[in-house]
């Protein structure tokens, strides 16, 4: 690791002041991802700001309207065990998939959502875009994107929980310097701004090296994830995992469905591990609306989800896996047998 300075603020306001310091700054949550990247000198910050000493980031609260606010620094094991989240199995299933107690106890939900891509060219020091995408094109793309891969970015978004959060219509609360244009908040009203936006908008497909896969601007950070009351939706995550360990899934999908009178009225289906961002599939939802959930309709939705897939040279198999993940997430959400493992 390169030497860095370290600070551990205890309020969100202090954190913001620290994030305004000069130099390259990284936010340290659980550290399970960041510390490894710093060790390999893929990331070499001048200042590391620890957010685990900020009490407001470490609670799960029920809000007035049945919404739930999860602090970004809440660890995954706590999210998994919290009764407020019982109505949203899609989240718990995604966390269970991580399947390492250690990662669950150490990793935070904010860090999970904002962890850096696993692309082996990025992690091997070839840059986030892997030499403008050419390293992936000429190389081994077996774990790369089948959607959203027409630009230089070919990696897949690593978060396992984000698809579930998006499917459940979660909101991100991000605070930052006034310049980011949110509502003014803070110590004296001018120091900071606060933004609330749909969590899928946290992610973007970077177009050039230097642009990250999250939209967070310098000085900003994620403080909370707010889940609206969706108790009338059934939800599930299905991950295609080769083994029982914490290896990343080969493809995944989260579904949240409002099923009334046996018919799907409304819903959201989001794929994971298939694109540089979590990948919302309107086509899959459209195929399901107005239908009962069964093997055939789920299969049709799975097929609809992947018709626009554009695999790279080594990852055509992921199309089949993504299709299966969608089908099984739908069946699981509806409480039906998935037919596989």
């Amino acid at each position: 690791m390169k030497s860095f300075a370290y600070a551990s603020p205890t309020t969100e306001g202090e954190a913001l002041s620290l994030l305004a310091e000069p130099g390259e700054i990284e936010i340290l949550a659980g550290g399970t991802d960041l510390v490894g990247l710093m060790k390999k000198m893929i990331i070499t910050p001048d200042l590391v700001v620890n957010i685990l000493d900020i009490p407001s980031l470490k609670t799960i609260e029920q809000l007035d309207n049945g919404a739930i606010a999860i602090g970004a620094a809440v660890t995954l094991d706590e999210v998994l065990a919290h009764p407020y989240l019982d109505p949203y199995p899609a989240i718990g299933q995604a966390i269970e998939g991580i399947s390492s107690m250690q990662l669950q106890c150490q990793g935070t939900i904010g860090g999970e959502v904002l962890q850096r891509p696993q692309c082996w060219y990025f992690r091997g020091g070839r840059g986030l875009l892997a030499a403008g995408g050419s390293a992936v094109e000429d190389g081994d793309s077996r774990y790369h994107a089948i959607f959203g891969n027409d630009g230089a970015a070919k990696f897949v978004s690593a978060s396992r929980i984000a698809p579930a959060l998006i499917a459940l219509n979660a909101t991100a609360r991000v605070i930052g310097p006034v310049a980011t244009g949110g509502s003014p908040v803070g110590l004296n009203g001018e120091d900071a701004s606060e933004r609330f936006f749909p969590i899928e908008q946290l992610f973007r497909i970077p177009r050039h090296e230097g642009e990250r896969e999250s939209v967070l601007a310098r000085g900003e950070f994620l403080t909370h994830i707010i889940l609206p009351d969706r108790r009338n939706f059934a939800s599930a995550t299905y991950e295609v995992r080769q083994g029982a360990g914490p290896d990343f899934p080969l493809a995944a999908a989260a579904a949240s469905l409002r099923i009334e009178g046996g018919i799907v009225r409304e819903g959201e289906i989001v794929l994971g591990q298939v694109a540089p961002t979590p990948w919302i599939s309107r086509a899959a939802v459209a195929a399901l609306i107005g239908q009962p959930v069964n093997e055939q309709t789920a299969e049709a939705a799975g097929l609809a989800a992947v018709t626009a897939a554009r695999p790279l040279s080594h990852n055509a198999y992921k199309v089949q896996l993504a299709k299966t993940a969608v089908k099984r997430a739908i069946l699981r959400a509806a409480g039906q047998e998935t037919g596989g493992f």
Binding site: G139, D140, G243, A244, G245, D247, G339, F341
Partner: protein, 791 residues
């Protein structure tokens, strides 16, 4: 005239032959007599009479390992030590144009930098025409260490490494080791040997090649069943959890090296040669080693560098490879890919085999030996051709049972495809191809051993009830199940071993032996053997191993350790006991020959006995010292060679995702006489799990464009976890016929069959062969897509 000469020559040869035969007969008789004598003196007690050998005991070093007090090389921290780290070459094939360490040397905490790969070929001015060996200046694999930085902390060393500036000249890379045509086109192929054998022998006038070609063609024409197939196994790495490395220091001008090694008694010479000193000036220690699997026989150039840096700085130096370097340099197993055509008679007995295989063992061309193709099965007629490919990866190292796992997975799969083609039960086809003890169709163990093991295995697996023809099993949703089997053999004879045994007048027993414990339980087995011999519990025996200053013992490789230490410890123990018995006999007034050491006593006839302690008090003031020396290859009643094993796998496969799950695995294993059943089982569990790893999960993945190893981190190098192993059932196959042969090594044999057995089980489940291991979802789906069976 000519005829006469020929006649005479013939007669002479005959006389010579006869003399030779007579000499051989005499020698055999002498050997047999010696063996009988040795058996009477040293032989193992009968099974029912053993007090420790063959009994369940807890591993002697289990607690230190489980509570973290066992000190591995990585854990040895010497006062004032420097931490060294290496700069790994980022390119898989290049030359160094320049290397500049100035900035690195100036960093705080950096103490010393040694450049290992200079920029220009170092040409000797006296011999300007001789280009120095390529290896001195051309880098042929990624990760090769170019320079070593020693610093006050890990972080400072890593920063130092990052600050070294190197200019490279990139050279063309080749890593497509599975593609023979591409390798040929790139000029990367080398003959790997070949052999052709037919039952009918060519006449004096025949061209042998032409004859055998014709003969093979004829046999294929006559064959009732012909199968053509393609099979393979990707390269894997050793991935020892403790990386290669050392902590070294110079004490009074002599090198003391703590080295993570499978070879304490041999690596002192490695250091000596590398440092131009004598092995007397080197002591190697290794109390505990965190995995070796065949990759840790030498100090390696990085430990030699650590020793040089230690000398130059006057400080101890610790140099352990990074995980990334461990994957790239710490050892790998050659890949193997095979195309075959085989013919069988109407019963499914293979009559003719014709194969070509290739693969790569890295930048030094090597690959799977042709000598083990087809594996275990030895059809009467065969042609086999091997090609070695030179690719840009570090040279391979011995990996548990070199050649065998790949050969098993590349060839017993073809036998299984024969069963599939015939719609026959694979069990029956395997059985028929064993032959009989009189007319074996297999190599290694006797057909009756394999057959006996198959019977045991089939019961444990419930094979007959579960079996269905390939691809014809019931599906539950998209999940289908299948069974597969494979068989294996291995030598596992005893290595050389010397020990010094001391019995103290107070009854204490201590041994000194330059062997090592790879996790196989060497300490425990040594103590069991002496405990058995002296009638003492294992805790009463103090075992000292893991130092090159102890009497030499062979390296732990090839499953040779258990035999070697049993030989030396049993012999020393018996010799010591005979001396003590003489003393006790005098005291008790009984015949020494009637005395027995049991239950902590020396017992004679008529109920006369003395306690072990009393007996030892007769030794006098100085401890009784006994040396024993066993030379590998000496026939002995205590140890032997050649085992057979049978394994069966039951898997479930999800046809929609291509994921394979282990349901059950049965391993039946002969190892002659079982010394420590608990640890023998652990070895087999471990082998099966390592087998599941290479069958389903792991492979070294290289970037086709740059040759970089893409998955050189634990996170990316997929391995099975605790939840991936299913149920594993072990049977230690020890009928008296096998037990009476003595101790035979076990470290390697059970790791051979899992690849073949699991591949066959997947083929049985799907009705489609997934040709190349590991059987990852992409490959399973591709094989299904090819046969239109997805979902």
């Amino acid at each position: 005239m000519v005829n006469q000469q020929a006649e005479k020559k013939k007669a002479d040869t005959k006389a010579q032959d006869e003399a030779k035969a007579a000499a051989a007969k005499a020698k055999a008789e002498a050997d047999a007599n010696k063996l009988a004598e040795e058996k009477a003196k040293y032989g193992w007690p009968a099974k029912e009479k053993s007090s420790l050998v063959g009994k369940r005991v807890a591993r002697l070093d289990g607690l230190p390992k489980s509570t973290g007090t066992a000190k591995y090389t990585y854990d040895i921290n010497l006062k004032n030590q420097l931490i060294a780290k290496g700069l790994g070459c980022p390119h898989a094939h290049c030359k160094i144009k320049s290397i500049d360490t100035t900035a690195a040397a100036k960093l705080p905490g950096v103490v010393f930098i040694e450049v290992l790969k200079p920029a220009d070929p170092p040409i000797d001015p006296k011999k300007p025409d001789e280009v120095p060996p390529k290896k001195d200046w051309e880098i042929e694999w990624q990760g090769e260490i170019l320079a070593v930085v020693a610093a006050e902390s890990e972080a400072a060393a890593a920063e130092g490494v990052a600050a070294i500036k190197v200019e490279y000249e990139k050279l063309p890379v080749f890593v497509q080791e599975d593609n023979l045509a591409a390798a040929k086109a790139a000029g990367r192929t080398f003959p790997g040997g070949n052999k052709t054998q037919t039952e009918k022998i060519a006449g004096d006038d025949d061209d042998v090649d032409e004859f055998s070609a014709k003969e093979l063609a004829r046999l294929f024409k006559e064959a009732a069943h012909v199968v053509e197939g393609y099979y393979g196994v990707d390269p894997i790495t050793h991935c020892c959890l403790e990386p290669h490395g050392s902590t070294v220091e110079w004490v009074d001008g002599k090198l003391v090296a703590h080295l993570s090694t499978q070879n304490v008694s041999g690596t002192d010479e490695g250091f000596a040669a590398g440092l131009q000193i004598t092995s007397d000036d080197v002591t190697v220690h290794c109390d505990y080693i965190g995995g070796g699997f065949g990759s840790k026989f030498a100090p390696d150039y990085w430990a030699i560098s650590a020793a040089r840096i230690s000398k130059a700085t006057g400080r101890p130096v610790k140099f352990m490879l990074d995980r990334d370097q461990e994957f790239k340099l710490g050892g790998n197993r050659p890949s193997g890919y095979l195309k075959v055509k085989l013919g069988a008679d109407k019963d499914g007995v293979v009559t003719v085999w014709d194969s070509e295989h290739w693969g790569s063992g890295g930048a030094t061309p090597s690959g799977v030996s042709q000598g083990v193709v087809p594996y275990v099965f030895a059809p009467k007629n065969f042609r086999r051709v091997a090609t070695n490919i030179k690719n840009n990866a570090a040279p391979n190292r011995a990996w548990r049972a070199p050649n065998h796992p790949q050969a098993c997975a590349m060839t017993q799969t073809a036998y299984d495809d024969l069963a599939a083609k015939m719609g026959a039960d694979s069990y029956d086809i395997f059985l028929k191809n064993l032959g009989t003890d009189e007319k074996p169709l297999v190599a290694g163990a006797k057909p009756s051993v394999y057959a006996g093991e198959m019977e045991v295995g089939a019961k444990l697996m419930d094979w007959k009830a579960k079996w269905h023809p390939h691809g014809k099993g019931p599906a539950k949703g998209s999940v289908v199940e299948g069974l597969g089997m494979a068989i294996h053999t291995w030598g596992g004879n005893a290595n050389s071993s010397t020990i010094l045994l001391k019995v103290y007048p107070d009854g204490g027993v201590e041994t000194f032996c330059g062997t090592q414990d790879l996790g196989t339980g060497t300490r425990t087995s040594c103590a069991m053997v002496l405990g058995e011999t002296f009638g003492l519990p294992i805790e009463a025996i103090k075992i000292n191993i893991g130092s090159s200053k102890y009497p030499a013992s062979g390296p732990s490789g090839g499953s040779t350790t258990i035999g070697s230490v049993c030989e030396s410890h049993r012999r020393a123990g018996v010799d010591a006991l005979l001396k003590i018995a003489d003393l006790v006999a005098a005291k008790l007034g009984v015949e020494a020959a009637t005395l027995k050491a049991v239950g902590g006593k020396i017992v004679g006839t008529g109920g006369k006995s003395v306690s072990w302690k009393e007996a030892c008090s007769l030794i006098g003031m100085k401890p009784l010292e006994v040396m024993a020396d066993y030379k590998s290859g000496t026939p002995s009643p205590l140890s032997n060679r050649t085992v057979g094993g049978v394994q069966m796998a039951h898997v479930a496969v999800d046809r929609e995702t291509g994921i394979v799950r282990m349901k059950k695995f049965v391993a039946v294993q002969d190892m002659g006489l079982v010394v420590s059943p608990t640890q023998a089982e652990s070895q087999i569990y471990g082998s099966v799990i390592m087998g599941i790893a290479y069958a389903l999960f792991e492979s070294r993945i290289q970037d086709p464009a740059s040759g970089a190893v893409l998955n050189a981190e634990m996170k990316d190098y997929r391995l099975p976890r605790l939840g991936d192993i299913g149920e594993i059932v072990i049977n230690l196959y020890e009928p008296e016929s096998e037990r009476s042969r003595g101790v035979i090594g076990l470290g390697e044999p059970p790791v051979i069959s899992p690849g073949g057995a699991i591949s066959n089980a997947v083929a049985n489940a799907l009705g489609v062969r997934v040709p190349v291991l590991p059987l990852t979802p992409d490959r399973v789906l591709a094989a299904l897509a090819k046969s239109k069976k997805v979902g």
